[in-house]
């Protein structure tokens, strides 16, 4: 599954296949075509993943647009420490949280969507290992908090906004999850 995805991503690239970092450098010098190529490579997975975290596709679309507007404006500030995709993700998930916060009555993660993060993304990350089995045995609300902080890379406060729960609840659920995990696999 993972390898097929990797092939798909690279197969889509232009014949010259410039790496993302090079595209980003071209974006920072004002190359609109390079932005289009980055969008072609990264917008689909970004939209898919944000959609799993927010039921409202209007908010997701705005967040995706804001993300690439940000990429256009901030390309020069990118530090080549990690993958460009990871950088785009940190922008995207925060733009999504911004959008959710702007709503007078924030639309929480659709109960139908949240498990998709847990059922589709976490197993990919953990695989059929002891860790995967340990995760599966946790309460869904503990799983959601672990996914938001560790997999999505959010701070406790941001995770609280994404999941529409108080920050204190994130902290307490996180420590509960950790102590349970310690018991299961010391």
């Amino acid at each position: 599954m993972r390898t097929t995805n990797v092939t798909r991503v690279t197969d889509q690239a232009a014949p010259v296949n410039p790496p993302d970092v090079e595209l980003l450098a071209r974006v920072s010098s004002g190359d609109r075509g390079a932005l289009d190529e980055l969008y072609r490579r990264h917008a689909l997975w970004l939209t898919t993943r944000l959609q799993r975290r927010c039921g409202d596709s209007d908010l997701v679309d705005t967040a995706v647009q804001d993300t690439f507007i940000n990429v256009w404006k901030q390309a020069g500030k990118y530090k080549p420490t990690g993958e460009v995709g990871a950088w785009i993700w940190t922008i995207g998930i925060r733009r999504l949280i911004d959008q959710m916060r702007k709503r007078p009555a924030p639309i929480p993660v659709d109960p139908g969507e949240l498990p998709r993060v847990i059922t589709e993304e976490v197993p990919l990350a953990l695989g059929h290992t002891a860790l995967g089995q340990a995760f599966a045995r946790l309460d869904p609300e503990l799983q959601a908090v672990l996914a938001a902080t560790a997999l999505d890379g959010l701070s406790n406060r941001e995770a609280a906004q994404l999941l529409n729960i108080p920050t204190g609840t994130v902290k307490s659920r996180l420590s509960r999850a950790r102590s349970i995990l310690k018991e299961i696999s010391p």
Binding site: L46, T48, D61, W89, E120, D152, L181
Partner: protein, 254 residues
């Protein structure tokens, strides 16, 4: 952080591996289109962004920002005029109100000038558009005039604070200024705004010179003047509102 969280965080460094997409291609294309549209859109003037933040309706914003009298050149002219009268005020001999009499006399003319130049054929590059627009011309004129009155009064109030003395008299120009501008607005429903402004501005100067010469500056800017300014402003305001049809016709005729 435990093994599980580390494993998740490790996976997070390649976020694209989790996004086997089931999003429609048209939606993807539309989002890219919106990104381009946003990047191509001309940047709004700073004033427009400030107004938007204060909740001014979208339709009103271009009317305010396109007000000719709000251009930088006008602001520079106003600033020079104010500095001039401030310097006269601080060099003048005498005490109290007399020292700031020049400022009090000239200050009401600043918003008046602004109102005269806020709207009208030959001054406003958007005039023909405004007259032809589905929005009524009168509302546009009022928005423009109020914009200029607010902007110039703000400048004047700030400069009043710089006056060396005068106490409460330092803002004694405010009500006369409102009255003069309101009377000009009222006259503009019948006559050319610039001609009306010139006549009323001159009348104000004549009155000040006569009254201040016969009595004193403190009499000129005293309670009687404030009250009659208020009355004049109210009457003129009423006349303006009741005269909106006269105004529309006058614009079409001109």
């Amino acid at each position: 952080m435990n093994d599980l969280e580390q494993q998740l965080a490790q996976a997070a460094t390649r976020p694209q591996l989790f996004g086997a997409g089931d999003i429609e291609p048209t939606r993807m294309a539309e989002n890219l289109h919106s990104v381009h549209a946003e990047l191509d859109a001309p940047r709004e003037p700073r004033l427009a962004r400030v107004l938007r933040r204060f909740g001014v309706p979208d339709l009103t914003i271009p009317l305010v920002t396109a007000t000719p009298a709000l251009r930088r050149s006008w602001f520079v002219a106003v600033a020079i005029a104010i500095l001039f009268s401030l310097s006269v005020a601080s060099n003048n001999t005498g005490a109290g109100v007399d020292r700031i009499a020049v400022f009090l006399t000239l200050a009401p003319l600043v918003p008046l000038l602004g109102v005269a130049l806020a709207f009208g054929k030959g001054v406003d590059p958007t005039h023909d558009l405004v007259v032809a627009a589905p929005r009524d011309t009168f509302t546009v004129f009022l928005i423009r005039a109020l914009t200029v009155l607010t902007a110039s009064s703000a400048i004047l109030i700030l400069s009043s604070l710089l006056l060396p003395e005068g106490g409460a008299f330092r803002i004694a120009w405010l009500l006369p200024a409102v009255a003069i501008s309101a009377v000009t607005l009222a006259a503009s429903t019948r006559f050319d705004p610039r001609r009306a402004a010139a006549v009323i501005g001159s009348a104000w100067l004549v009155v000040v010179i006569i009254v201040a010469g016969a009595a004193s500056s403190s009499a000129m800017f005293g309670l009687a003047t404030q009250i009659s300014s208020l009355v004049a402003a109210a009457l003129a305001g009423w006349y303006v509102v009741s005269g909106r049809e006269r105004f529309e016709m006058a614009q079409v005729d001109r």
